[in-house]
Amino acid sequence: MAERALGGIRRVGHRAIETVWRMGVAARFFLLTLLHSGICFRRPQLVIREIFSAGVLSLVIIVVSGLFVGMVLGLQGYETLQTYGSEEALGVLVALSLVRELGPVVAALLFASRAGSAITAEIGLMKATEQIAAMEMMAVDPIARVVAPRFCGAVTSMPLLAAMFSAMGVFGGYLVGVVLIGVDEGSFWSQMQAAVDFRQDIVNGVIKSTVFGVAVTIIALFEGYDAPPTAEGVSRATTRTVVTSSLAILALDFVLTAFMFRGA
């Protein structure tokens, strides 16, 4: 009995030490990636390829979900605002919730599952097929050649995707609110413009999405780079990327929101 209890405690301790250890390795990996990011400017062609696979290929899912999220916000917002007789504030509601929160957060969640998982699977498979080891053998630094361009590409894509998500969402809210339900078009836009501040709302949204982009990309890259070189190891690493980066996005969002919109 005591033996089993001891074993349980030992396992918990092992897991805790293992987690902290991995955290340290991840931090070192992050610093190394940043140090090697200079290659993004020396060989932009590498980054272009990564922007294509992380950004352009995520375009469809981002645009379509942005449109639908905006349309749902328009419908739900109208239902609630109507009871207070202030349907004209629909534009404010849709724009503020998209630009401040939903745009960066939902776009980052989609980005993590669409692009983050692909990055992890790709690097994990490269490791499993010993391409990474081969590069090291040829004195090519895999961090500079494989990791850093993906980092730059994904981090530049993320704010652009979030902006597109918000813009499509506002358009979706406009479609449902103004075209379908018939809220007055003039007050829809003018109230929105009066309430949404460039510095306070839009720039903060861009900052948020950049931070999420860095977090998602570094988690995806590290999980791929650290994956056991087996089929099961890569599949587990891909799952972990999506789970960890989604949690990281939501936790970071809370911290950033607390900093940005406190009182004001």
Binding site: I48, R49, I51, F52, G55, V56, L59, A95, V99, S157, P159, L160, L161, A163, M164, S166, A167, M168, V170, W189, M192, Q193, A194, V196, D197, F198, D201, I202, G205, V206
Partner: protein, 159 residues
Amino acid sequence: MERTTLDLWVGLFVVLGILALVFLALKVGNIGTIDTTRTYAVTARFPNIGGLKVRAPVKSAGVVVGRVGDIRFNTQHYEAEVVLNLNSAYAFPVDSSAAIMTSGLLGEQYIALEPGAEEKMLAAGGVIKITQGAVVLENLIGQFLYGKADEAKAAKPAE
């Protein structure tokens, strides 16, 4: 440098992203409405500013003519000192008065400027002397109750 179709797609992606940002800034946000115009600052002291916030609008006859630039506490007069950044296109007489109003029933608070009759105009660094602070609901209820009590007192001898 050789060109590939990849470059075209990435270029399109970047252009779309920047277009979305410009749309957000210009159509959704309020960049370039009043911030880009030249302003001059005047100050006004209020006994109570209520819920007035920095960047709240300053309106005259309902038209936005400026924004609240800064709010601080003046320890000499023990009053709130509000800096108003007024649009240079509008000049106001030195005896203009400022009052803190609420837009709608639950709306945010703004400053209403009532132009005076003087020939001299307010310049940068000027002070608006006639002010009326925000209405505090508790004081209003208090006044109402005292008023009722006085009414009752006045009515008694007549019985």
